[in-house]
Point group: D2
Chain length 369, copies 4
């Protein structure tokens, strides 16, 4: 049997690794078992957000003290910028332990990780990216020991973006990129990545997708994809989370799809399925069992939410992705009582227009085995 552990650690700055160091020193985390680290950092979550790369740089330097270089390079690091409102910067360390000698009882949380090769900038936001990601998701499922796509509850992807430099590079090679707007490139990259997940999980068939649909046809979406774009990579890091009988342990995962930015009832239902009372805000006691909540947030493209106008898309001072993270972050914090939530902005093709997928990882109700 295998066992997945998820450690939620608060950070005091993008490069704060003191909590991780302490957990390793105390033996709570075995560095050799770390397969992925997801993190919320306090940058703007947009093009010029260097807090993500700074966090990755600090995490790599920290882990390099405990692991050989290629082992560090094999760990998927998915930093998502933007802790608007009272969202709280933290990392989620995903650890995998082999328990050859333990019987254990499945199913339980299972984790798989894959990296794609580097992608040329001109593939970004096009079918080339969709196929590349779909292949990576299949690899990560295989690694996790999950065969049935229905057992996948969340796929977190870190994908690249375009910068002025990269666009110029592509154009120097005679290629055109899907956009020359760097901020917009983040959305296209997230969208194509999400469609890659939908393709891999059988949510949408390939023939229903096309270059022109990406970033435009909001009826195409995955209910389990979550993508973050970052300037610090040119490939994709893919983390698949699901339930598998090959894994045991105290953790379970479930997911929900919010139909809009305040549609918390499906999340409440997912919490109930995981054994939480969830009538009203989670009690302090129940919050202790809530290990991680991962959600996507975005402003609906219609400029309306339940018929009422919102101003996110017309605000030239604050990026709409920042507005959406803050607002949906607030709705989810109101539901759970927790602010260390992995709410990430930009939900293109991730859930319906204006909504998004949410995953919940929890200790099972009957105790923390």
């Amino acid at each position: 049997m295998r066992r997945a552990l998820v450690h939620r650690i608060a950070t005091t700055a993008p490069d704060d690794v003191s909590g991780l160091e302490a957990a390793i020193a105390a033996g709570r985390i075995d560095p050799a078992g770390i397969v992925a680290i997801l993190g919320k950092t306090e940058g703007n979550g947009c093009v010029n957000d260097f807090t993500r790369a700074f966090a990755v740089s600090a995490l790599e330097a920290c882990l390099a003290k405990h692991l050989p270089g290629d082992a560090v390079a094999g760990i998927a690091m998915v930093m998502s910028g933007g802790t608007e409102g009272a969202l709280s910067p933290h990392i989620l360390v995903l650890e995998h332990r082999d328990l050859a000698d333990e019987a254990g009882e499945g199913p339980a949380l299972a984790i798989g990780v894959a990296h794609t090769g580097d992608m040329p900038p001109e593939h970004l936001g096009r079918m080339g990216q969709v196929w590349l990601v779909a292949e990576g998701v299949a690899k990560a499922m295989h690694q996790a020991g999950i065969e049935d796509p229905a057992d996948v509850h969340f796929v977190q992807i870190k994908c690249p973006l375009l910068t002025a430099e990269r666009i110029a590079g592509a154009e120097a090679r005679g290629e055109t990129t899907a956009t020359r707007d760097t901020l917009k490139s983040m959305g296209l990259s997230r969208g194509a990545s999400a469609l890659g997940v939908a393709l891999a999980l059988g949510e949408i068939e390939a023939h229903a997708m096309s270059d022109t649909a990406i970033g435009r046809d909001v009826s195409l979406w995955s209910g389990r994809a979550s993508a973050s774009a970052g300037v610090e990579l040119q490939n994709h890091e893919i983390v698949v989370l699901g339930m598998s009988r090959a894994w045991s342990g105290p953790l379970a995962i479930d997911h929900a799809v919010m139909a809009d930015g305040i549609d918390v009832e499906p999340v409440r239902a997912a919490l109930a399925r995981l054994g939480f009372a969830a009538d009203g805000q989670l009690s302090q006691d129940e919050r202790g069992r809530l290990v991680a909540l991962l959600a996507k947030a975005e402003p609906g493209s219609t400029g309306r939410l339940r018929g009422a106008r919102h101003t996110m898309l017309d605000d030239s001072d604050i990026s709409a992705t920042r507005h959406a993270r803050a607002f949906t972050g607030g709705a989810l914090a109101g539901l759970t009582g927790l602010t260390e939530l992995f709410v990430s902005g930009g939900a293109e093709h991730q859930g319906p227009d204006g909504g998004g997928p949410v995953a919940v990882i929890a200790h099972r109700a009957e105790g923390r085995r």
Copy 2:
């Protein structure tokens, strides 16, 4: 008997008065009965937010077609800038109808309005402002026919702020202002106004307050004050909302105090007292009975919420007031299912540190009389 009506009207821009015009034309609103208009506009809610003045200018021009000039000037107009996240721009038109011939049955929502005289900039954020506001609140209570401060559920105040010009003016007269930081002046003005409410309602006694406590001693707060600062006035506009046996009609008001930015359970309890089921998000049907929700939001001064770090106070790109409105707005929208909420930022001395007062106005459950 008197009757209070509250009309919630969506706006498509700060100067959009078409909804108000239509309601007047259709006879739903009698211009002569309007005592106050509260509005959320889509500016930044900070110093250089001209959407508030623009809205007031448009509302005045609209009403001037129906009312004599001094009647327009007597209407309290409290625009609050900032519809972060999916908060939706709207106005709340408060109307007062005399029903001499109707029996009616109280108690019901009661409204009182008062204006203070102009305040010299050097009084802003000091006891001079506290006393001025307290006197205004007493006047507005008297006008509303409310004698017992316990029957007051909300006091909305529009207060002035300092600009570079006003500071220079005061200094030219040999005076010093409480601050030379214009953004900070908004907080001091809101704080002193809130303490004026606390003084008038007997929540805090005068000897417990001082110039130095204003903006500093977070243990001093009113549970029913809500203040917004705007560049467009130099006096205070005060609107008292409460319950009174001298008023009848279908509307009732109650209030709650949030202990922090996601503390929605007291608001749920207030909703329950007003007859809402309120287990989970309000149903679409119940939302129809929710006339208005008015709340204050602010980042806690400790930099933490329930122990978890937030980054609002250290963000130099987005004002902390904008973060807080978005986040608490999201929490309240998650609770109510509604985004036309009057969430206003800057809750200095309005509710406990990091939290704030919330008022709910609703049609009574037994039907919409």
Copy 3:
């Protein structure tokens, strides 16, 4: 003979018309002669900049006291948002006086104004807009009495933009708009307007332009166009400035084209042609003769200026147009010693990539006739 007057009046807020009122009261401005008002207001200059509409609303209300309604409606009002850095909010009132009895001596500054009809949103940023504007420029030249396009030194255009609402409206009619990104729509509208000027002035021939070239082919540009986009109109207001023998008076105009955002030497040469010493910064005395400077600023699309990287295009906190206005505004203020400059952002197809046209209006050297 006709005479053009240009009055530069500082404002203390977007809706401040006290300076205009005072000039009218003192007889310095004859309201009946006003043909156009250009203004810099202190908003963000982007989609949600309501300071422009607020200024227009205040100017119209002010002028309505002196003129019949249709006369007010005939005055072109071109507000440009954004006074970044130390750029100073002001208005330029362009007045036209008929001097039937005066001999006068030309040539001198000549002004012509035209309005186009409303444009459907789906024409924005496409050839439909180019033709519409070209026709309007021809009309304005005719009105100014300028026949030779070489005598035109500046064409200021106020053009519309897309909002979420307008895009939805077009899509409801089965049309697609050139973009669904509201901020981007401002650039496309400015660009198509500039190409309309280039077409009218014979700078570029029609067959060299196309829908796909608009906003993309930076080799197409006018050296005399300046366009500002605003949410407050759906048509175009066009002001042509040039030299004409049919006009006399103390004012003259010349223009220059900056090759990049700091290319001040061509502007220095234009100043010299107008009789300024212009070695080093203009002296205080010389500054008194400088009536108005109108310039366009934009970040170069290559992400570089003279080979050095700039970060404007990758900044998701501050719009690139704001950066460019501040920086080029600083360069021009360093040259002239003046901060009441009409520097407007977004120079798509207005001057070469990264540069822009500049017009200078001055009292002639020999005194202020």
Copy 4:
């Protein structure tokens, strides 16, 4: 004789050290000789600007490959965030070479570096900080071999700031800090540091300073101090630049004081003293001799520049320091034709109100010895 070298190296991101690596690999820079690195990074230059720390982290990692740890720690690293407008991110590597065997001819550019001890947060912005810095400046002068304060042309200081955490820490110890506003703390720290320079250079005597004057009395200023605040340190790094007969080589330094944000003529005069023609913008050829320009920029506290209103202090969307850097950066780029300028914001007590000191380092006119 000693020789100072200054290497200006463009960067493509905050953590880009490839240019430094290449210069070391090519032998142009001897790592052992590096005494200081000044850099402009592309963050917001305010509280939550992590690009500075990220740059320092990358530079330290790079140099650690070439130098022992304590040698790296001894190098002053002064990153200044904010490349608004077209200012271009770059580093200035200051190198010191001992030329025991060369005769050389002085005077030439001389460099001295010192670090103070850690400062408790409650000293920030008070006389405790002034004295600490003055002592450090004296040490750095001694190290540079400069005895006469008149030979000092620039003192660059990196100083700490307050964060919510640090304020809480001080308060937990029963201390109060000079402010609880983290952005404001940056200004107080810069101001007190500048007064420390003024004290050390004899520009102002100690008895003329006081806790209350810091950040308030704008008549107190140093004409040669430049301070940048950063979250990444709790002590001060001090770099003194001047002319000394103990140093030889091709480089010279001079300085000027701008009276306001566009007062470029004193800088032009300094350029002339260094042998530049400087009538009009520097020619491309002359620009090749301009090694570095270091300047401070700030919005004047009066809200006016040469009598014209600016809006920097009332803008709640963009920090006034960002506005000022962009605008004065543009003025200086217009003068020099160069955008790789070390323009740093926040000039409290650094130059007169609204102005600031400027230093120019150049290769001597007669060739690049």
